[in-house]
């Protein structure tokens, strides 16, 4: 059924379609609409789930860890400082191999206080063992929640579905909402093999001495590698069933069958802006291929090399920063390309921090700089007001 949904509510309805059993969350802007709608769905008996109102995000994540350990498909949502407060528990959820799914609304970290879009919050959670999937539009948000559950349960790792503050969380778009029976066929009930069950007693999350610890970590890495393959399979199955698939890395060529001299790598809602800029630039005589990166963890190294390797120049647009290094996606992409004999020149642009608009003109300016005589650098700033 086609409905006009706010990005946040697309998450809520996907969670409903996934027949989630336990939800726990704490209010934080701009995530709040997600859990408010879920609270309504539970209170109205539309969604048969427990909604646990806790005193902090740290406890929200701990509560869903408990629920998932007891065998319930579980969900939470957070943003920015809320996500940062969960940090310890994020490691715990991944180490305990629990397939929790979280909606993460990208919002800047303080101080100074800022509630607007910035990816540094989720990217700071890079090493927690959570999978991270970035969304371009509201339809992709809804679909990715469903894909994330299937993926998380397949490889026993938690997954974060990431959407930009306001640009996606508070924007209404027409969305194809799949029927419940179609979703049930795609995403059957979770059948965990290891759960808390007093009739089959066992201990969870026990001490792992140096003799064992490294192998546990190895298994998480193996699961991440398996997740790369599983994501492509599940994404393809989703495409067959629902007519939409996204890929871990998707090339959006300027001209079908041709390769432009420059690839522009984007994530999140900026990809939509890049599509507009691509069309304008083409009219002005500049061909740019857009490469949309959806999967950040596990990082699709091989796919990134395959797609970006043949380009002369690659621009990476980061709405985030790792202080002392630079744009985080750019860092990962440069690391992936480092193994190639012949590498594209990478232009790592940082723009739009703290919700500053990235307009088609911003992208045109970046492209002009990359195609002009911009010297190589480890970080390039666009739109700084100094």
């Amino acid at each position: 059924m086609r409905r006009v949904l706010e990005g946040s509510h697309a998450v809520s309805h996907a969670v409903e379609l996934a027949r989630v059993k336990v939800i726990s969350a704490y209010p934080i802007t701009p995530q709040t609409h997600i859990v408010e709608r879920l609270a309504e769905l539970v209170a109205d008996g539309v969604l048969d789930a427990r909604f646990i109102r806790v005193e902090s995000e740290h406890s929200a994540m701990a509560a869903v860890i408990g629920a998932a350990s007891a065998g319930a498909r579980s969900f939470t949502a957070s943003s920015s400082h809320g996500l940062a407060l969960m940090h310890e528990m994020l490691h715990w959820a991944a180490g305990a191999r629990l397939p929790i799914v979280m909606a993460e609304v990208n919002r800047a970290m303080g101080p100074g206080w800022n509630i607007w879009a910035d990816q540094t919050d989720s990217l700071s959670q890079r090493d927690t063992g959570w999978m991270q999937l970035y969304c371009e539009d509201v339809q992709e948000v809804l679909d990715t929640i469903l894909i994330a559950y299937k993926l998380a349960e397949r490889v026993s790792l938690p997954a974060m579905v990431v959407l930009d503050a306001f640009f996606l969380s508070h924007t209404y778009e027409p969305v194809e909402v799949p029927d419940q029976d179609e979703v049930d066929a795609f995403l059957p009930a979770w059948e965990p093999t290891e759960i808390l069950d007093p009739s089959d007693p066992r201990a969870f999350n026990q001490l792992a001495s140096p003799e064992y610890y490294m192998e546990f970590r190895y298994k998480i890495q193996q699961a991440m590698e398996e997740a790369l393959r599983a994501h492509d399979e599940i994404d393809a199955e989703f495409g067959q069933r629902f007519g939409r698939s996204y890929g871990a890395v998707r090339r959006i060529p300027c001209r079908e069958g041709e390769r432009a001299p420059l690839a522009l790598v984007t994530t999140g809602s900026v990809t939509g802006t890049a599509r507009v800029a691509q069309a304008t630039l083409r009219e002005k005589g500049t061909d740019v291929d857009v490469v949309k990166l959806k999967l950040f963890r596990p990082f699709p190294h091989e796919e990134v090399r395959r797609v970006l390797g043949p380009y002369e120049r690659v621009v990476v647009l980061d709405r985030n920063i790792s202080f002392g290094s630079g744009g985080i996606f750019a860092g990962e992409i440069r690391a992936a390309l480092a193994g190639l004999d012949r590498r594209p020149r990478v232009y790592p642009f940082v723009a739009g921090l703290g919700g500053r608009d990235i307009t088609p003109q911003t992208i045109e300016s970046i492209v002009a700089r990359a195609l002009g005589d911009e010297p190589p650098a480890d970080i390039l700033w666009e739109g700084l007001k100094l």
Partner: protein, 250 residues
Amino acid sequence: MKPVFVRPQSLTDKPFHFCPGCHHGVIHRLVAEAIDRFGVRERTIAAASVGCSVFLYDYFDIDVVESPHGRAPAVATGIKRTNPDKFVFIYQGDGDLAAIGTAEIIHAANRGENLTVVFVNNTVYGMTGGQMAPTTLLGQPTTTSPYGREFGQDGYPIKMTEMLAQLEGVGFAARVAVDTPARLAQARKAVFRAFETQLEEKGMGFVEILSSCPTNWGMKPLEAVRRIEREMIPYFPLGVYKERKGSDAL
């Protein structure tokens, strides 16, 4: 002409951003009156919180440090321990102090930190748009409890003043309201006592102030004020719960 009503010196000229009928403005004024009354403006530092009181730094003509959600008591502890000669107060709402920051306030109180705490309880998360807080009354509808808070799901509203009054580190603990002129006078007195407690080095001075939130309660300002007497005070009784007297210093 003799002035009969003046703006406290410790407030700036910036108009409050608060919704019509919200009590934060009145409470800001009481705190500013106390700063003026004790002549501590030049040595006062506030640790502000997250929520509707987040813009404290715009309204008070003093040093203010914004703290992460719930952490103001810990941040203030660091400030006061570094500068014991400074007057340090915290201003927190219930979503901050009684939820995400429960551990910080309890342990700052238990350590007997010489701080003044202004705790504004409006039974709801204000700034994020009216979600259920630990202080939400039974039956009160919120955006995350659309049919009202139920004991079976969410327990009873938490009574912070009663809880903190049990701790030896607290020198003064009171609950007041600002819904009538008489209660406003009592509230002023309590805020002054919470200031004196710090100045006399008698441990934490804690004042809980019941406040309206017409926007998130879905009420007109007058209805919201009436709700304080009708629903809040019966559950959150007003009064001084603890007062360390004269020579019994901490």
